[in-house]
């Protein structure tokens, strides 16, 4: 392989695929990036066998070929290269990087040993505008479980039924549901996509991209711009999430999102230090105001926010992190909070927007 390219293009390719490089695999070759030429493009590939990312950049190809090189070292050297024309040449499994009158050699692996990121031969193709999908990921990824005791909760359920698209996630303490419309779509899909894949889609998707989704029984390929992401689907049945969403409520509150977020963030500074070591924040809702009176060994906070209240007074405690997470993804000026008492799940949704809701279960005192 012999190519001439720019530093910024190399950096773009490395940055795009780097998150798919395995960080804890016992196979050293999975901690590498594969580069191969095709016509006048250089393809970057990385996989940890669960997610695979491919990306192509335009280069001047003088000799076709492919190489596999350690990702960390290559990434670091690319970042430190000068802004000049870069020549890369492979020699057996190694590569020589030439810049000015200097060169840097990286020892690589045999490309034949690198696992192939195979395509999905499916004619089914769903098109989704990037802005819709990015916004839906942002709203739902907050509720994914981190622990892997139940893998289905570490992903986001993607359900497409004709023109309706739904993303749902839950860690059993909270649940986020976002829905939207894909005009003209007739196809159907249902699968649980790992949150790591969703994070990568969110990171790499540009607002003017169109996302193309192809799938088979256990894998999905997502293509946009010059990027392709191939991921396995999480096996298992996502529980019936509709049954946990309350249909009625006793108290409806309309709260300024920014003020509420600032207040909860301030209160959580003290709640982190409390003797229970839980990040609890307690709201006393009465007379069209939310009162927070929090204290710990390190201090005390008294806050009051004026709100629009419709319904009964209620005292309710939450994990402050859950409230902060939802308030950060709601972009409307006001947020609607629907409560059915101190022990029932509380619904948060943007004002005048029925397409998103986040359900948070109060803490039991």
């Amino acid at each position: 392989m012999k190519i001439i390219c720019k530093k910024e293009d190399l950096l773009l390719g490395v940055n795009t695929v780097q998150r798919a490089v395995s960080s804890k695999s016992t196979l050293p070759i999975l901690q590498s990036i594969k580069m191969r030429t095709e016509n006048n493009y250089l393809w970057f590939e990385a996989t940890d066998l669960e997610i695979g990312i491919r990306c192509q950049i335009p280069v001047n190809v003088m000799e076709e070929g492919q190489v596999v090189i350690p990702a960390k070292l290559f990434s670091e050297i690319v970042r430190k290269l000068p802004d000049t024309e870069i020549k890369i040449e492979s020699q057996d499994s190694n590569i020589n990087i030439y810049y000015y009158s200097s060169d840097f050699v990286i020892n690589g692996y045999d490309p034949e040993e690198y696992p192939e990121i195979s395509d999905i031969s499916s004619s089914e193709n769903i098109e989704i505008p990037a802005t819709i999908f990015k916004s839906m990921i942002k709203q739902t990824i907050i509720a994914c479980a981190v622990e892997e005791t139940r893998p289905v909760f570490t992903g986001i359920l993607l359900q497409i039924e004709g023109e309706n698209i739904n993303l749902v996630s839950t860690d059993t303490h909270r649940l986020a549901h976002s829905q939207s419309v894909i005009p003209g779509n007739q196809k159907e899909f249902k699968g649980i996509i790992p949150s790591k894949t969703m994070q990568e889609i969110y990171r790499l998707l540009q607002d003017d991209d169109i996302l193309y989704i192809s799938y088979n029984n256990n894998r999905v390929i997502l293509k946009f711009g010059s990027v392709q992401i191939i991921t396995r689907l999480i096996e298992g049945q996502f529980p019936n999430y509709k049954q946990v969403i309350p249909q009625t409520c006793g108290t409806k509150l309309l709260i300024n999102t920014k003020k509420f977020l600032d207040t909860v963030e301030r209160a959580s500074l003290l709640s982190r230090d409390n003797y229970l070591k839980t990040n609890t924040v307690r709201f006393n809702i009465e007379n069209s105001a939310i009162n927070i009176n929090q204290f710990s060994e390190t201090g005390k906070i008294n806050e009051k926010i004026d709100i629009d209240q419709d319904g009964e007074d209620v005292t309710i405690a939450f994990n402050a992190k859950y409230i902060i997470d939802v308030l950060k993804v709601v972009e409307t000026e006001n947020i609607l909070m629907e409560s059915s008492g101190s022990f029932s799940p509380c619904i948060f949704r943007p004002e005048d927007d029925d397409n998103y809701l986040c359900l948070v279960l109060p803490l039991r005192s």
Binding site: T172, H173, L175, P246, F343
Partner: protein, 102 residues
């Protein structure tokens, strides 16, 4: 001619005897069907007292089961079908929904 006439007479007599037997069989079948219906009714009939007793018993069992599940949940165990019996950390939306549904 006399022989043929006698033969026809015998056939006629046989047919009328057979008809008589069919008639009596029909009556017997009707009786059996009536008896069958009445026996079925007797089998299915449950007295109001029995119905009430069964319903009360079911309600009691359901109440006890609900209380037991509530107790388990408050003692820190999952009662939802996803994690049933496992240690509960904080609270669970699915356990909560299960208790509300009951």
């Amino acid at each position: 001619m006399g022989q043929l006439y006698q033969a026809i007479t015998e056939v006629e007599e046989n047919i009328s005897r057979l008809l008589g037997e069919v008639k009596s069989l029909r009556q017997y079948v009707e009786y059996l069907e009536e008896e069958n219906v009445s026996l079925k009714r007797q089998l299915c009939a449950v007295s109001e007292a029995d119905t009430e007793r069964v319903q009360k018993n079911a309600a009691r069992i359901q109440k006890e089961a609900h209380e037991n599940l509530e107790k388990l949940y408050s003692e820190g165990f999952h009662i939802c079908h996803i994690y049933f019996g496992e240690n509960l950390e904080g609270s669970c939306l699915f356990c909560n929904a299960f208790l509300r549904k009951d």
